[in-house]
Symmetry: C2
Amino acid sequence: MGKVEIVLNSLPMSGGDGPNSYSKNSHLQRRTTSLLKETIDKLILEKLNAKTLISDSNTFHIADLGCATGPNTFFLVDDIIKSVETSLRKSNSSKPEFLVFFNDLPHNDFNTLFTSLPQDRSYFAVGVPGSFYGRVLPQSSVHMVVTVGATHWLSSVPKEVLDKSSKAWNKGKVHYSNAAKEVVKAYRDQFGRDMEKFLEARAKEIVSGGLLVVGMCGIPKGMPFSNLADSIMYKSMADVLTQMQSQGLISEEHVDTFNIPIYSASPEEVTVLVERNGCFTVESMELMDPTAWRLKRPMNVEDVRHWMVCIKATMGSLFINHFGEHLLDDVFDRLTAKLVGLTEKIESSYREEVMLFFALQRK
Amino acid sequence: MGKVEIVLNSLPMSGGDGPNSYSKNSHLQRRTTSLLKETIDKLILEKLNAKTLISDSNTFHIADLGCATGPNTFFLVDDIIKSVETSLRKSNSSKPEFLVFFNDLPHNDFNTLFTSLPQDRSYFAVGVPGSFYGRVLPQSSVHMVVTVGATHWLSSVPKEVLDKSSKAWNKGKVHYSNAAKEVVKAYRDQFGRDMEKFLEARAKEIVSGGLLVVGMCGIPKGMPFSNLADSIMYKSMADVLTQMQSQGLISEEHVDTFNIPIYSASPEEVTVLVERNGCFTVESMELMDPTAWRLKRPMNVEDVRHWMVCIKATMGSLFINHFGEHLLDDVFDRLTAKLVGLTEKIESSYREEVMLFFALQRK
């Protein structure tokens, strides 16, 4: 099995609906979805000509790429449907039917997704197994595609950072944060190749006039990742793994080959990639502040615990795949303990405009 | 939770791909699929105007309703795609894209289905959770619907057979085979209502000119079910349950309320239902002989064991839902032992034209 496959298999969020599952621990993602509600509503009303798009079939097709197991995807879809219905009412159109494609990797827990679909939903629901870095749907088959919190996940760890003979060999670190410039470049290049494939596939799948809406990890142009609060988490992760290595719990090679394939993009670099693709117009490209939601009080131990439970639900399978299931709790217990002592440093980090939102329209 | 829901939840085939799973024990269904290959190919070439149907989108949409976890559904879909491609080549059309809707109940093991999808498949695959006795797809969204080995499963046990005060109260039996005429009528009426809903939903989903192909349990008009080999199995099942009741392993009420919601239809009664629906023309309506495959030697112990493993994979969840998982193996061990002593009786039963095949075209 090649590297790409290994990473692809490890990426899905934690399945089921137990206490450590993604479905129970994705409040951060829910906040992002809420934050986008108003923006998406405005886009649909102002940019999407729903009446013309569905004139043939009277069925509106929505896809959520990287939907995980719910429930956030259900809220997002409900919001979109309400906006499209409003738009159609305004143009005196008859009520359409809705088909929603819920996409994620084949190893995502679709059983949990399907059994937790809202009983009173107003749409036909289908699941689409496959990587969104390739085609997952037929040509011109969808009117609106959304993907929230998914496209910062690279298709694989850049191969250079795993290569001992490369200048990008990322020994002792788990991310490009605080790493050599060659490592940063390897991640950036990988993101560029992935986003190129992502846009190519969507250009084929989305009808002319359809919308592509993306919310993902972002960063202001030119800002080093080490300014961000997440860099403290990645540094602490590396420290925990090194500590566990020194205690003989994991091997040096395992630590050195562990990298988290997440990349935070700037609006400017995505704009370049969209222009290079050439099939979309940019309707919106902005950084947003997800911390506007945060409580106006100092971060406490419970906040850190809650944060780590969410991170464990999203990144857990990556650790399990690399180190084995038996070490997962130990890693996260140590990480939580470490971060509890770093709350002041986290709070003084840059945490404002770290969500990139963009909306493209298929030409 | 109402009766309907209980039965719907219990219907899915056994999940996973372990030794007792449906995916490893559905050879009988595979035989049925093979038997239909030639007939379906002929239908597509002679009746389906694929070129006209897909002229707008150049995408051909197929649905397999009641697909279970594979792999039979993959063979069936491959055969259909090859036939459609042949048909399109003959009309000098460009190669289309294919979208396949794999449908089954929400509790079906879609995770196994999705992870076992052929890697080299030539179609986009989506999963559709929902009962095919209601709408599962948008209006006019599919060109060809197949369902093999699924529509003999009723949406629920007819409520009269569970009603102590009814003449159709089916005490001590598990099926309408050898039962009072009121029980037979209750099953027949339930099938009529279910098939009515099935045809109504498909009439909305299938485009004009599209095909609906069904393979299910059948029986010649007027033949009592007790003539069929399966009646010996149902009688033995009832005997096993009564025995276990007398040994205090299960309660009388549990035995009396256990009924297998499977109905074998005659071509004539389906024809009446199709005509009443009015949206389809009958292109084919025939009984087929699945036993043409059978070895020309007496049935032996291994044959019975193999048969029971298949039955366990398809009906197992029904037993688990009603009696609990701990009794499943015991029930099937006793049943197998009983049937091993009845091979001559089974062989002298009617086993020829017990598969009903019909093909309808949407007007």
